[in-house]
């Protein structure tokens, strides 16, 4: 993965920059020690590392604004960072950049149950937003699998999803307002505790812009009352095609489950070996969860069961209790850990139209043989968001490159069948060079035009999202 060469003129001004930042930030909020900056050299895409020139950890919107104004004046690139859990390299620094971490801004500013909103600083973790309101019976809906660690800032930057977005949507559908600091230090409010902000939907534009348009320091999020209960049914099939057809039939029947998760045989076996969840050894497994009162759940699961029976499942197990629900989810929730036990793996994140599921799974199986690398599939079937895990050996020379090549082929396949390169992880550097496969030159130019407006100097997270050759003229202008 190519990154721009560090700018020697910027590197030479490091001492001056650090001194100026120290003047506007509190004690300990500027890190320039080489050993300490190494803690910020990568995010969860650990194959790529580069320590930044310095790290700043501001504690307020005001401090973010002052620090950004200095970097702007000195022409120093800034890479915003939430908790560093990006799987796409969204928070990967360059040697001439400053990492702006929001970790010290993690307060709840206001909780308003009457209007069902919470205002938080964006360094707060996803799960602790729910943690702040669950005593009153509320929750924050988007639930990326890294939710224990990931920050709201990163969720907004990547428009994070989760397992339950079939019913509740992704971050952009649950974000009502932000405080945004532009690269030049300008602070603005977008939206608030009301719906549909005035003017253009800048909130919608900011969400998912991968930290390239501004730094979001505070957010107003929609909170929802927890449903009375939730229970899943586990359904095993002897073919992926049939499982895919079953998903489609469930949706067509008018049932809207809160989650439909899919696992294939390699994944089922790994999870079973790891978590002993009692999964059947079959080609494909669905976990379908519905919500409501006990009677409502029974009614919906009954409907789903009737549909599934028409597809001759090899196993069908309806949860009747919290314990049985936990047992059904146990394997799925440990899928990534389980795969990590047996192999190094790369987790992909393409989305496909659900109707293309059998075709795509068949093609991935064929390519797996061609590349000689195993693949396990686990994904959110209700919305077509796939997470193929490609297994490789990090100690074997050339295996990572082969794995990346295979991954790129799978993502191209997703695009070919009408889907997209990334459903919830973001482009970052990981899929940056594939962007031209999904979008034409004018499509990319239109997106880069937006960056030109928000950050004319291309200083915020500059070498991400857009292929370098496409953004060269704008970045270096």
């Amino acid at each position: 993965m190519q990154m721009p060469e560090p700018n020697p003129a910027i590197l030479s001004r490091k001492a001056d920059l650090v001194a100026r930042l120290r003047k506007v930030l509190p004690e300990g909020a500027v890190i320039d020690d080489v050993a300490e900056t190494r803690a910020y050299e990568c995010d969860a895409l650990t194959a790529y590392k580069c320590p930044p020139m310095a790290v700043i950890l501001p504690g307020s919107t005001e401090e973010v604004s002052r620090a950004l104004a200095i970097c702007h004046e000195m022409g120093v690139p800034v890479v915003p960072r939430g908790s560093g859990t990006s799987l796409a390299g969204g928070a990967l620094p360059t040697a001439d950049s400053v990492i702006l971490g929001v970790a010290r801004m993690a307060e709840v500013i206001e909780t308003d149950y009457t209007n069902r909103v919470i205002r938080v600083q964006t360094g707060r973790t996803n799960l602790s937003v729910t943690g702040a309101v669950e005593e009153e019976g509320f929750f924050y809906a988007p639930d990326p699998s890294s939710q224990l660690a990931c920050a709201i800032a990163g969720n907004i930057a990547m428009n994070s999803g989760g397992a339950h977005c079939l019913k509740y949507g992704v971050t952009t559908n649950n974000l009502l307002g932000v405080t945004l600091v532009q690269m030049d230090g300008t602070v603005m409010e977008l939206g608030g505790a009301h719906l549909d902000a005035a003017g253009y939907d800048l909130l919608g534009l900011i969400c998912g812009s991968e930290g390239q348009l501004g730094v979001v320091t505070e957010a107003t999020l929609r909170i929802l009352r927890k449903p009375e209960g939730a229970r899943p049914v586990l359904i095993g099939f002897d073919s992926s095609e049939v499982a895919g057809a079953c998903v489609s039939d469930i949706i067509k029947a008018g049932v809207l489950p809160v989650a439909i998760e899919f696992m294939d045989r390699p994944c089922i076996r790994a999870c079973e070996a790891f978590a002993h969840a009692g999964y059947p050894d079959c080609e494909a497994l669905l976990i379908v969860e519905v919500e409501g009162s006990d009677a409502e759940i029974d009614e919906q699961l009954g409907l789903i069961e009737a549909i599934a029976r028409r597809h001759d499942p090899v196993e069908l197990r309806q949860s009747r209790s919290a314990e049985e629900s936990a047992a059904i989810w146990k394997g799925r929730k440990s899928a990534f850990g389980a795969m990590g036990q047996i192999n190094d793996y790369m987790c992909l994140d393409g989305t496909i139209p659900i109707s293309q599921l059998p075709h795509v799974l068949r093609r991935i199986g064929e390519m797996s043989k061609e590349y000689g690398l195993g693949v396990a599939n686990v994904f959110h079937a209700g919305d077509g968001n796939m997470h193929p895990l490609i297994l490789y050996d990090a100690n074997k020379p050339g295996d990572l490159e082969l794995c990346e090549e295979f991954g790129a082929e799978i993502l191209k396949l997703c695009v070919e069948v009408g889907g997209c390169l990334t459903g919830e992880h973001g482009v970052g550097i990981e899929k940056r060079d594939l962007m031209a496969y999904q979008y034409g030159p004018d499509d990319l130019a239109a997106q880069m035009d937006v960056k030109d407006v928000f950050d004319p100097g291309w200083l915020l997270n500059p070498a991400k999202v857009f292929p370098l050759d496409a953004s060269d003229a704008r970045r270096i202008a």
Binding site: T114, N115, R116, G137, N159, G161, C165, G169, M188, E189, L190, G192, H194, L195, D196, A198, Y200, D201, L202, G204, L205, G208, R225, P227, E228, S248, V255, L256, G292, S293, E296, E299, T351, P353, I354, S355, H380, D383, N385, G418, C420, L421, T422, G423, H425, G426, V427, K431, M435, G440, D442, D443, A445, A446, D449, V450, K451, D452, V453, F454
Partner: protein
């Protein structure tokens, strides 16, 4: 001009030597009026893809909404954001189109639970003011590939580009609708009741409070949707929860329920009546105080109070400055939907936000030919 293809449209925009007024079905003449040359999307029509099992529909921007509703109904599905029909309120004719709904981000009462038009948009194709044909998003439900210009296009009223094709997420239609109704609540009590209903686990899909109708009493309405058994159960729980406000009665007659919510959605109480109509988006619990600040006006509350439709008769003690002041101190925005179209009608914007908006407009439409003046914000008092 009524191009039949995207290429033809791009050619027209590239070759344009003056301003253009973009029109779908012409049913929502919002914002400042203009006598620019009319450019219609009416012939960019037709459903090109509909996969009920994937909850996905793709159609030309000029496709009449009715055609889409009919196709969806045949599969027991619907547009969950419940777009308002502006014809009654604005006294217009014509046929509402998909592109118009998206360009104005038109939603209805279910916005409070399901989301707005922008939340159901999966992808767009459009021609910008430079004549570039641009694609963004796609036809899948989860997509974070690049910037979300889909959201930017929703509610940009054709000022950045002319939509040619739209991909939408659709949802199953419920088998049963129930409406809980109570007459006689004062505004503050009604909004209190609606906020409690929306804060319950019973999935309210409509929460409105209507002013007295010709000497009658004000009416508070709560909608529940789902299976028969589920609606019956949630209605009973809701009646118990709100018992302190009075006895809500349940109606599950499909035609009456549909009529009730079309009445709210299309602002029927203000149709055909004299006076300006304003649309205020506010924090729900602040709604009664905002209305109380504006004497002489009449209010319909939707979205549990979050949306106020305000009828401002001529000579009322409240004009634009009073309305903006009432909203600004409590958070939210106000737009004049009906009234003198020689003046700006869109909500005021902070200078920082306006600067970004102008910057985007100059990028996508450097010659300023697409709906010039349309989204001009009103001056703040």
């Amino acid at each position: 001009m009524t191009p039949e293809t995207e290429e033809e449209l791009a050619g027209i925009i590239k070759g344009a030597d003056g301003p253009l007024r973009i029109e779908g079905g012409g049913t929502r003449p919002l914002g400042r009026s203009s006598n620019a040359a009319r450019l219609s999307t009416a012939r960019l029509r037709g459903i090109t893809l509909y996969e009920p099992g994937a909850l996905t529909l793709v159609a030309g921007a000029g496709t009449p909404l009715a055609e889409i509703a009919e196709a969806l109904a045949a599969e027991d599905q619907r547009l969950a954001f419940e777009p308002m029909d502006h014809r009654g309120l604005l006294g217009t004719e014509g046929v509402p189109t998909l592109g118009g709904v998206v360009a104005a981000n038109v939603s209805g009462p279910r916005r409070i639970q399901a989301g707005a038009a922008r939340d159901f948009l999966l992808g767009v194709r459009f021609v910008d003011g430079q004549g570039r044909i641009i694609r963004n998003g796609g036809r899948v439900m989860k997509n974070v590939t690049g910037y979300d210009l889909v959201k930017l296009m929703a509610g940009s009223y054709g000022t950045l580009g002319v939509l040619t094709e739209v991909a939408l997420k659709v949802l199953p239609a419920p088998r049963c609708t129930g409406v809980l109704r109570l007459e006689g609540l004062h505004d503050a009590d009604a909004i209190d009741a609606l906020c409690r209903a929306l804060g319950s686990p019973y999935e309210v899909t409509g929460a409105a409070h209507l002013p007295p109708n010709e000497g009658g009493a004000p009416v508070t309405l709560i909608r529940l949707e789902g299976s028969e058994a589920s609606v019956a159960y949630r209605a009973a729980e809701m009646q118990a929860l709100l018992a302190g406000f009075g006895a809500f009665t349940l109606d599950t007659d499909p035609e009456r329920c549909a009529a009730d919510w079309a009445h709210v959605r299309d602002v029927a109480p203000f149709q055909g009546r004299a006076g300006d109509v304003w649309r205020l988006s506010v924090t729900p619990s602040h709604a009664p105080a905002i209305v109380a600040d504006l004497p002489g006006t009449e209010a319909i509350y939707d979205w549990g109070g979050g949306l106020i439709w305000l009828l401002v008769p001529e000579g009322a003690g409240a004009g634009a400055p009073e309305i903006h002041a009432a909203v600004a101190t409590r958070g939210g925005h106000a737009m004049r939907i009906r009234g003198d179209r020689s003046r700006a009608m869109f909500p005021p914007l902070a200078a920082t936000v306006a600067a970004l908006q102008d910057g985007l407009r100059r990028k996508f439409d450097p010659r300023g030919i697409l709906n010039p003046g349309l989204m001009t914000p009103m001056e703040t008092p």
